[in-house]
């Protein structure tokens, strides 16, 4: 037998990695073209605003979600107070509302005819002055994004605090430090890696946001890229903006690496015991419950309540066949993309586990790449690439599809699904990679020693043990895709709608109440997904306890 037979995983991983980076070739080539006049204008007059707005939005959103997420995670894991158990999972729920839906809902609620102004007028005889209290502004956008992204930090930190930091916190307690002292002197430094991971997730989401900024009229990189391209038809400038945005992203990733330090953050630490909580009494307990309650009200209960109210008013017109078809479209796209992502993720993660060489490490990094690339950039990249691909395949189309239009793939769902795979592969990959890490190599080796080849070992040994990781990867990817707006908006085929694009259309027509049924469908599907996910993760953790 030949000594170095290239294995299935090596070849397949190489192909996937090439597919993932190939599309960026076009984008980079375009950068070396001579800039046009429009770009000169953007550079001279607008670029400063784009950079400034983006930085302000990113900085304050990160700051506030960090503040809220950290304090909530600490409160939930270190103290006992009324309704703590309920808040523990309920505080994840704001994640079920896409930030653009939160934005539309709050904007509509605080408009002149919205519930806030009407109530205030009837109570006080006067509403809030729109000049001072206008949610459709930078502070409003920061509020919306912070509230809706805060759960990322809350979840990562809570898992961390309930897990590995218990012994550290307890030793801090033994040394007679106060609770607050422990928080700042022990918890924050120890959980630095988790904090940085959560924060960079939030920052990437903000950079990717299109829905909130465009509705509130804030010029960020994402909105500028879309505007250059679709309103002004200036692809060249859109590409240049995308490139600058990528420079920011790379700087962020570099910063993250430095801040994280050498310790990489991992949730799957072996043995841990829950932190013993301190019971809060009297006013402190009231304060804790109120704080958690207010965040939950603002981030979930109020907007959902408003959506339900609108839905009751409008469902007769909006909850028809069409809504169900859109729901199926959305789910279908999510499931197809998620399956492809899981297959790709398994191949690359397994190659990394079995080979653990430089090449496999590069492939792992490549599959993580997409998540750091803002939706607007992914959109441009994929369109350019697919138009190119279609031109290139044109002779083939003439043979097998005579009479077809010039653009076949770029007009089909293949484009959107490919973009989703590129952008969300990281989410699935990370779950699977974590799963493989937990399993390790020994069962694989044992199976081979018992006469099973690579394929049989995978299906009989690895796959059954990987099931929880696959399940959580699948749910996470589906959740992300169902909530996703900009890619769906731009890359969908003509006449193809998802729940998210429909909501966007309604909002653009200033018919936000009519969007409520579709919005609620998204919230409902995503909330169910999140709760299932939360359960599986908790169960997995308990199992680890037993072993």
């Amino acid at each position: 037998m030949l000594k170095r037979k290239p294995g299935f995983y090596g070849i397949a991983s190489t192909i996937i990695a090439i597919l993932l980076i190939f599309p960026f070739g076009d984008l980079i080539l375009q950068l070396f073209q001579k800039p046009n006049e429009n770009w000169m204008e953007i550079k001279e007059f607008l670029l400063r605003d784009y950079i400034g707005n983006t930085l302000i939005l990113v900085f304050f959103t990160a700051l506030f979600s960090l503040l809220i997420g950290t304090t909530l995670a600490w409160l939930i894991s270190a103290y006992d107070f009324p309704l703590r158990k309920f808040f523990r999972w309920a505080l994840i729920l704001p994640l079920a509302i896409p930030s653009y839906i939160l934005a539309y809902t709050y904007a509509s609620m605080s408009s002149y005819t919205g519930v806030v102004q009407v109530t205030l007028r009837s109570w006080l005889g006067t509403g809030l002055d729109q000049r001072y209290f206008n949610i459709m502004s930078m502070p409003g956008a920061i509020f919306i994004l912070s509230i809706s992204l805060m759960p990322y930090i809350y979840m990562i930190l809570r898992a961390f605090m309930e897990g590995q930091s218990a012994s550290l916190i307890e030793s801090g307690r033994m040394l007679g430090k106060s609770h607050l002292g422990i928080f700042f002197k022990v918890v924050v430094p120890v959980s630095r890696a988790a904090l940085v991971a959560g924060t960079s997730l939030v920052v990437l989401e903000v950079l990717s946001d299109y829905g909130v900024a465009s509705y509130f009229g804030i010029q960020t990189f994402s909105t500028a890229i879309f505007r250059s391209w679709f309103s002004l038809g200036d692809i060249d400038s859109a590409i240049r903006l995308a490139a600058i945005l990528m420079v920011f992203v790379l700087a962020l990733l570099f910063l993250e690496k430095i801040l994280r330090g050498r310790r990489s953050y991992s949730m799957s630490n072996t043995k841990h015991r829950p932190l013993s909580r301190k019971e809060l009494k009297g006013p402190m307990a009231f304060l804790a419950t109120s704080y958690a309650g207010i965040i939950l009200l603002l981030g979930f209960l109020i907007p959902v309540g408003q959506l339900i109210y609108w839905a009751v008013l409008t469902y007769k017109d909006t909850l028809g066949n069409e809504a169900w078809i859109l729901g199926l479209n959305t789910l279908g796209i999510a499931v197809i993309s998620a399956i492809i992502i899981l297959v790709f993720g398994i191949i690359i993660a397994n190659y990394a586990r079995l080979k653990n060489n430089l090449l496999s490490k590069i492939y792992s990094k490549i599959s993580l790449l997409g998540y750091s690339i803002p939706g607007a950039v992914v959109a441009i990249t994929m369109i350019l690439f697919f138009i190119h691909l279609d031109r290139w395949l044109a002779p083939l189309y003439r043979i097998i599809l005579p009479g077809a239009p010039a653009l076949v793939l770029s007009m089909s769902l293949v484009l959107l699904v490919s973009a989703y795979v590129l952008r969300f592969l990281a989410v699935g990959f990370q779950s699977i990679d974590g799963g493989f890490e937990r399993i390790g190599r020994k069962y694989h080796d044992a199976s081979k020693m018992l006469g099973h080849g690579e394929a049989s070992t995978f299906f009989r040994v690895d796959l059954p043990m990987l099931k929880p990781a696959l399940l959580s990867g699948f749910s996470l990817v589906c959740i992300d895709i169902i909530k996703e707006l900009p890619l769906a908006l731009i890359l969908r085929p003509f006449n193809f709608n998802t729940l998210a694009t429909k909501v966007f259309d309604y909002a653009n027509d200033e018919r936000i109440p009519e969007a409520s049924v579709h919005s609620l469908l998204i919230v409902l599907i995503v909330a169910i997904g999140i709760l299932i996910l939360n359960k599986t993760l908790d169960k997995e953790k308990n199992n680890e306890h037993k072993n």
Binding site: M1, L2, K3, N356, N357, K442, Y443, D445, A446, S447, K448, M449, L450, G451, H452, G453, S456, R460, V461, P464, M465, K546, N547
Partner: protein, 227 residues
Amino acid sequence: MNIKIENLTFFYPGNKKPSLKDINLEIKEGEIVSIFGESGSGKSTLLRLLAGLEHKGSGTIDMDGVRVLGPNSFVQPEKRGVGMVFQDYALFPNMNIEKNIAFGLNKMSNDKKKARVKEMLELVNLEVFAKKYPHELSGGQQQRVALARALAPAPGCLLLDEPFSNLDTDLQVRIRGELKEILLKAKVTTIFVTHDRADVRALADRVAVLCEGIMVNLGTVEETIDQ
């Protein structure tokens, strides 16, 4: 199984120092050979190379005249007819004891498989645990399951990596005796790794002593470690 190792040298990727250097060792059918040495001396690495779980070594390994490792040849672990008991047993947690033992018998008919599993369970005295899962068994019992699982496909050679290191001291003494009996019954060529002289005395026909990847001594128990 007759095994012949010649000039075997092995580096882990990224290491400057070889984990094994120029190993030469011949093992005869039915022999029980111990690889003895301190932690980090390369014992597990040698076993993994014999098993086929590592393949970047230079030098050669022949098994019953077949070149399983060499400049232009490599036989995959699943094709070598070698059984292995891992240090932490690696019993599949999602399969019960019966299924674990039957795992290496997938080419047999169902009836034959059943009979073989029963035979193995009797050999290691665990008939009543057939339907239990690995985590429901004690360490010593798990170890015997791992042994039964490795022996079930009737391998030409059995590799054991520190077979007693995860057991309490009392248990170690008892299981050593049991293991010897089982190995003699199964008549299988055995290579076992240990850092404990008592293991060697109780079980080995011959000993290879490793030190920092180099084989510094080879011979009977009296000729080597008893000196």
